[in-house]
């Protein structure tokens, strides 16, 4: 996996955007991170990238659940319903530890569920593990022809 593989961060809280970018930087994840701030924008961006030749999909999507316009679970459902994005790794990264969010996410085909810790040091640790796993260890799905 090359280091220029992109991460898509779907997050509406600007503080969380700053913190997430900082956490990845602290964790020495150098890959470019594209940020969108609501579900609608996320879908528009992803489907536009998927239609390019060749498609330029991110290596992993970090998806918050509480989003304006189209919420996170709906984004997940739409991605999984589309042939071009159905195998795209999606990590749900959210504040909640509610059972229904966790179950709902996995039912809709999330690859992972991570609860954002309040303690920034733990957040950096989580970012490091995420980067290591999804950008280095994980074998991405083959390109859809």
């Amino acid at each position: 996996m090359s280091t220029d593989a992109c991460i898509l961060l779907v997050e509406d809280n600007p503080d969380d955007v700053i913190l997430t970018l900082r956490a990845f930087k602290k964790a020495h994840v150098a890959n470019p991170i594209h940020v969108v701030s609501d579900g609608e924008e996320a879908l528009a961006h992803l489907f536009a990238e998927a239609s390019k030749d060749p498609p330029r999909l991110p290596a992993v999507i970090l998806l918050d659940l509480n989003l304006p316009k189209v919420d996170g679970l709906t984004v997940l459902r739409r991605l999984r319903a589309d042939e071009r994005t159905r195998r795209l790794p999606v990590v749900v990264l959210t504040s909640s530890r509610e059972e229904r969010d966790i179950i709902g996410s996995y039912d809709l085909g999330a690859n992972s569920f991570v609860r954002k810790p309040v303690d920034f040091d733990q957040f950096v640790d989580a970012a490091r593990q995420l980067g290591l796993y999804w950008l280095v260890l994980n074998e991405p799905p083959p390109e859809v022809p």
Binding site: N13, D15, D16, I18, L19, R22, A23, L65, N66, T94, S95, S96, R97, E98, K116, P117, V118, D119, F120, D121, F123
Partner: protein, 658 residues
């Protein structure tokens, strides 16, 4: 379809007379001259009435009646005995053998035919021989078949329909005796089906039972609104469902039978006198008036007869040997079933004293034998009419009362159902609100905290050089506050969660869970050395998730409060107190002052400073709530600086220390 009557008599005249009369009345009549002919004709089937002479050339009519009653077909046929035997004991014998009526010869043809018709009508209303038909409307094939099998096993004929439209079509075509309909159906639902039936003139009296699949209080309400006679939950035992359906059908049949008994049917008079001459004269006068007359020669005979035979009026001689008129009258008037029968006292003398005595004994009227028969006939007519009016009035009163009671019962059931539905709805609304609240707390309260903590850290890292030591300290305190608040939020959510969770009891190995929890504590603080002593095989019947939370809190506390001990020790053991198993978590940590023990299990109450032992003060409140939900108790003992013991029980059934 006309009913078939067997006329069994050895007299050709009687046979011809009755056959002609029955045929004129629309019956099909079959004459039989001997017992064996009657047996053969009856075995051919189809007879609904048998008119049976007592004296037959080849046998005894009463014995033949016994044979008929013992056969499957004969159990339900209507039988009128016909006999010239005037003896009361013959009558009693016939009626005891199961005759529906006993008519003396010479008989009145009109009475015999009218009585036969009345008996047939009553039997049809009771509907014993025909299997009762139940229509089952349900889209679930499984449940339909279970119900069909059960109903057929109970002797019902069953029609089935898959949906409401089909059900209504079948009901109109087949006129079932009862309808059982599922509340939830494709197309029109169960309540609407019942409403349609109630609007149909031909079907509106058919008892309807609504099946509901849910614990939904509203279903009950809708069923009553739609006019269902009963509603049954599908989860109920099949026998319970059958019993409900049976009861609803019986109520329907009862109403029909009552209408079939007419106030203008044939009437029967019992005349009691010790003078045969007077009796026969009286009988012929009354028979001429189309009354059936039964004769008895003394009070004893009269009472014996009244025990088995219904009459519409009693004429009782006052002066008789034996029991005497006065005493007979008193006994009749004190017997519950016959006391309402009009009784006219007869006496030879026009004696004012005797009249008063008779009326005092309960007679309804009094007449001198010397009076003209016209007067007697008029008095009899009047008494019978009075009795009819009374019956009619009583019937109307009862009907009204019944309707009123039904209406008030329905109102009460309606109110109860409405109240229940309201409460269920209110509770559901509250639960939804609480759920939405804790969801929003979980999401929205944490996000700003993350900002506070993370950005403080960012300042410390990026601009640390610009701050002096005090500035660094402040920012560390800001971070500490944010993290502590996050812990409180998590603990509060857990406390709310614990109250809302449904208890799922199962076998829980506390010993194993305790070791797991301890291993996790050790993992988080690998530097600490704490000795754990856990008794083996502490197995309880409880909710596994909740008991794990209990152990996390209790062992977590023990771990925390032994933090300043060089040789920390935590112990989990069980013991017996007054037949109850008690589990104890004991530590040799900081302990507490027993003076404050009351505050221990309340939310946010802490007995240690944050600087000494950090915590939210919610843990033991959560433990308390969990133990409480299991029906157990929890309490604490401690000594300042000498350790604490938290004990809990799980109710008498749950504990099972081995």
């Amino acid at each position: 379809m006309s009913d078939t009557v067997l006329v069994v008599d050895d007299s050709l005249t009687v046979r011809m007379d009755l056959v002609e009369a029955f045929e004129a009345a629309g019956f099909r009549a079959t004459p039989c001259s001997t017992a064996s002919e009657a047996r053969a004709a009856f075995a051919g089937g189809g007879a609904s009435v048998v008119v049976l002479d007592v004296l037959l050339p080849d046998g005894d009519g009463v014995e033949l009646l016994g044979e008929l009653r013992a056969s499957p077909l004969g159990a339900s046929v209507a039988v009128l005995m016909l006999s010239s035997e005037a003896e009361v004991k013959d009558r009693v014998r016939g009626l005891r053998m199961g005759a529906d009526d006993y008519v003396g010869k010479p008989y009145d043809t009109g009475y015999v035919v009218a009585k036969a018709r009345e008996l047939v009508r009553a039997r049809q209303a009771a509907g014993s021989p025909r299997p009762r038909t139940v229509l089952v409307i349900d889209d679930s094939v499984t449940f339909r078949e279970v119900l069909r099998e059960a109903l057929e096993g109970a002797g019902y004929a069953v029609l089935v329909a898959n949906d409401g439209e089909e059900g209504l079509r079948l009901a109109a075509a087949q006129r079932p005796d009862g309808v059982v309909v599922d509340g939830v159906l494709p197309g029109i639902d169960g309540a609407s089906v019942i409403r349609h039936i109630r609007l149909d003139v031909a079907l509106r009296d058919v008892p309807c039972v609504l099946l509901t699949g849910t614990e939904d209080g509203g279903a009950e309400l809708r069923a009553l609104d739609a006019g269902a006679d009963a509603f049954v939950r599908k989860e109920e035992d099949i026998d319970a469902i059958l019993a409900r359906i049976g009861a609803a059908l019986r109520r329907g049949a009862g109403a029909a039978a009552k209408e079939a008994s007419s106030a203008h049917g044939p009437k029967k008079i019992l005349a009691v006198d010790d003078s045969p001459t007077y009796l026969s004269e009286l009988a012929s006068v009354l028979r001429a008036e189309r009354y059936e007359v039964v004769l008895a020669r003394d009070g004893e005979e009269a009472l014996e007869l009244l025990a088995v035979e219904h009459v519409d009026c009693i004429l009782l001689d006052r002066l008789m040997p034996g029991l005497g008129g006065q005493e007979t009258c008193r006994r009749i008037k004190s017997a519950p079933i016959v006391r309402d029968v009009p009784l006219i006292m007869l006496t030879g003398m026009d004696d004012r004293g005797a009249m008063l005595d008779g009326l005092g004994a309960g007679a309804d009227d009094y007449i001198a034998k010397s009076s003209e028969f016209e007067v007697l006939k008029a008095r009899v007519r009047a008494q019978i009419r009075r009795k009819q009016f009374e019956d009619e009035n009583r019937r109307i009163r009862e009907e009204l009362l019944k309707k009123e009671m039904e209406a008030s019962e329905a109102r009460a059931a309606h109110q109860l159902a409405a109240m229940r539905a309201g409460l269920v709805e209110e509770l559901e609304r509250k639960n939804r609100e609480l759920e939405a609240f804790s969801y929003s707390v979980s999401h929205d309260l944490r996000a700003p905290l993350r900002g506070i903590d993370g950005l403080s850290k960012a300042i410390l890292e990026d601009y640390g050089d610009a701050l002096d030591e005090r500035g660094h300290d402040y920012l560390r305190r800001v971070r500490g506050g944010a993290q502590r608040m996050a812990e409180i939020i998590d603990d509060l959510l857990q406390l709310a969660h614990v109250s809302g969770l449904e208890l799922q009891r199962g076998s829980v190995d506390l010993s194993r869970r305790a070791r797991e929890v301890f291993a996790e504590l050790q993992r988080r603080e690998p530097g600490r050395r704490v000795e754990l002593l856990v008794a083996d095989g502490l197995v309880v019947e409880a909710d596994d998730r909740l008991m794990t939370i209990v152990l996390e809190n209790l062992l977590g506390n023990a771990w925390k409060f032994t933090g300043k001990r060089a040789e920390a020790r935590i112990e989990l053991a069980a013991g017996e107190i007054e037949g109850e198993t008690v589990y104890r978590v004991r530590d040799n940590g900081a302990g507490f002052d027993m003076a404050y023990v009351d505050r221990l299990f309340r939310s946010f109450q802490r007995l240690h400073s944050e600087a000494d032992f950090p915590g939210t003060g919610i843990g033991l409140a959560t433990v308390h709530r969990i133990i409480d939900r299991h029906g157990g108790r929890v309490w604490a003992e401690g000594t300042l600086d000498a350790g604490a013991t938290i004990s809990f029980s799980l109710g008498r059934k749950a504990g099972n220390a081995r």
